[in-house]
Symmetry: C2
Subunit: 498 residues, 2 copies
Amino acid sequence: MGSPIVSSQWFQFIVIVLSVSVGSAARFDIPRLSPIRGTILKDPKIRSSAPVSKGFQTFYYTQTLDHFNYKPESYATFQQRYVLNFKHWGGANTTAPIFVYLGAESPMDGDLSGIGFLHDNAAPFKALCVYIEHRYYGKSIPFRSRKEAFKNARTLGYFNSAQAIADYADIIMHIKKKLHAMSSPVIVIGGSYGGMLASWFRLKYPHVALGALASSAPILYFNNITPSGAYYSIVSKDFREASETCYQTIRKSWSEIDKIASKHHGLSTLSKKFKTCQPLTSSSEFKNYLDTMYTGAAQYDRPPSYPVNEVCRGIDGSKKQDILSKIFDGVVAYYGSQPCYFNQLTDDSETYQGWRWQTCSEMVMPIGVGENTMFQPDPFDLDSFIKTCKGYYGIPPRPHWITSYYGGQDIKLILQRFGSNIIFSNGLRDPYSSGGVLENLSDSILAVSTVKGSHCLDIQPKRETDPEWLVEQRKMVVKIIKGWMAKYYADLKAFKLQ
Amino acid sequence: MGSPIVSSQWFQFIVIVLSVSVGSAARFDIPRLSPIRGTILKDPKIRSSAPVSKGFQTFYYTQTLDHFNYKPESYATFQQRYVLNFKHWGGANTTAPIFVYLGAESPMDGDLSGIGFLHDNAAPFKALCVYIEHRYYGKSIPFRSRKEAFKNARTLGYFNSAQAIADYADIIMHIKKKLHAMSSPVIVIGGSYGGMLASWFRLKYPHVALGALASSAPILYFNNITPSGAYYSIVSKDFREASETCYQTIRKSWSEIDKIASKHHGLSTLSKKFKTCQPLTSSSEFKNYLDTMYTGAAQYDRPPSYPVNEVCRGIDGSKKQDILSKIFDGVVAYYGSQPCYFNQLTDDSETYQGWRWQTCSEMVMPIGVGENTMFQPDPFDLDSFIKTCKGYYGIPPRPHWITSYYGGQDIKLILQRFGSNIIFSNGLRDPYSSGGVLENLSDSILAVSTVKGSHCLDIQPKRETDPEWLVEQRKMVVKIIKGWMAKYYADLKAFKLQ
């Protein structure tokens, strides 16, 4: 399997590919729900100094391909990867919990060091740490090879969230049985798409997990529960709060780009001006690059560097007078000095390919750009989205399925008297927080938000530079989980006495 | 579609077929979870006088064949039947609920009059009544014909409980949208297997149903949560409580049967003695007939006739001295005077065929006969069960799936702090009550049991002869549901004011 510690170079690769994935295809822009490790890119030095626990052990589970069907081919299996770390575990007969990180839309390798919640809390909780890879990613590929698995909708059909959380239930129960730890409380943890999975897992499998920490999980960004333009509104707000002049410069830049691009050799002018690695082929391609930079900066606007501030420092501090030169200085400030920018990699990363399928089947988040942002308006067009997906896979998405299966509409009305033990953590600078749960739904389905936080910041590794509000947010999460466990053990004791 | 009112002759047919189904194949005896209408057989006169509301309207919904897959063939659809009755409905803008009966393992025709809970409570609640047929039964058959649908595991694969409750969610949401009744509270109701579906529906789709009435739902008769022999222990207890001498006579009868059957022409002797419609081919065939009679009498031991008492009156009141003559008098007392008994019909009823698939795929209830009952011991043998199922369908059952997906183990520990608004109603004379939820799990997941009640008795139509304890049980159920609705409307009001 090779080393679980992934080089920062690898991260950089993934992140750039993701950036490209966001920009490609006309407004096929939904895959912005990128893996949380994306954030690390900005601080490779801090990243590589993050504490990586030793003692990871890799296992494979023979997983059922199709949990919801009894056709002979549904009995096919595949090898699903999971990793255990017993280093701090108190054991089955103690009050030590099992922390289970639910893999999301990428190979799990980076999660072992990237999910700070697990290794920062394993020792104080004496927890067993479990990481499970999501089906169709990394080494957890059905049909023997990625090429076969991704061949068409026929082989991809089993690649969806309901099957994925059923996988997680099977593996968790398998681990608990094998370790004779049936009574050990399980806390599932996930971020972004994985955060949705964590909250849905607690709702659907309360008999497997005692509670869930769902970090930056936009479970309400479906079926128009959240206004389509909310994501871009927050990106704009983040920039405006950082700097009004920066915000205005960006806002005005789009028509400048259009103006130049429409001229003879205009794209070539832009390519030179922005030192693009490849010649630009359209103005929308270029605008998507910038869009990706701004949204990335906002989504991962984390301390200590705060990428939105960096971009704006570049723009506002520019000594040039024309708008596009200022924007270029923002690009340099964000990416650092590079021989060229916006390198167009091929769209063949696992995350790009996997997430494209997921958004084209069930994860239909109708994100568009509304009025009054720093972007050009660009409403989400479901019909053209469906058409694009049909072109790729021959099947239409099911845009209503997520809310049919998991709910979401009137969530407080529904969950204030149903369910328990979920933390929805959000950073309000994260544009995805607009689709998150930002208020307590009951006395144990709780929202823990920070005004200055960003995407999945709370579950990333602790750093010495962490500001007080972040330290406090994490403390609160730990306190809540301890509360669940205390109640559970009191219940268990009463239960055993019966 | 024809008349929804089904003649009692039709009921008799179904019930006899079910009886046969129970007796066929060596200890393939699990399909004892028979439709609740089976009980009606004993009182055809009372049955036909049960009030049948008018105003049933039949509709068909274009249902997704496979909710959990995105293969092109999963997009296939079928027409699923549902019936609405608006007669008493207060309308979408009132506090009138929607009662939804979740169809179980039979065509839905008999449910329209057979499910007393709906038409007895529609008027006082001003409820809209909805009845939905379970996929693969009645007129809700995929693949255009029953013959195609039941061809093999490939076409039967989509026939399972997770798909069925996803169907129910889709249809309920469709109805609510069409009637502009999104805020109307939905109460799902089911009995026996349908009762399991009702409780599971509330657990999995709390955003679709406010609450569930799960009548005689043995959700704990899986994966050895309930001891295998519990069912037959209760049957024996029922008989012993009715009459010690009757119980002893039955207990001794099996070895008598074996003794005679082992003699030259012994089966012919038994055939004549018991006036069997066809010559017996084995002693186990005959013992299965009797087994079916005793278990049926116990499961449906309802007032005013109390079949267990009837059988025992026949046995105890017999003027004959030998054991088997007494047993025959019990048979006559139970079935009434007939030209012949135990008519061996072919096993081609929908319920028989459908339920056989369901038990061979996921509904694996390991019911066996333990020591110290009035039956001969006959432990459940999972290996031979699996072998039998493989022989039928070429696929093995998944005996752990039900508890993996729905839970069951340590149910009080799990649900005392999760979920809400489920009533588990049971009659303790029903042998299936041994696998039911018999204690309150929380302050809104409640058990309502009656000592003298039988299988699904509470949701059958009211009768003038109903004893006080049954009237009280039904009143309590209504009171609980009214409590849920009151809280819901208070929540809704607060929610709208936000």
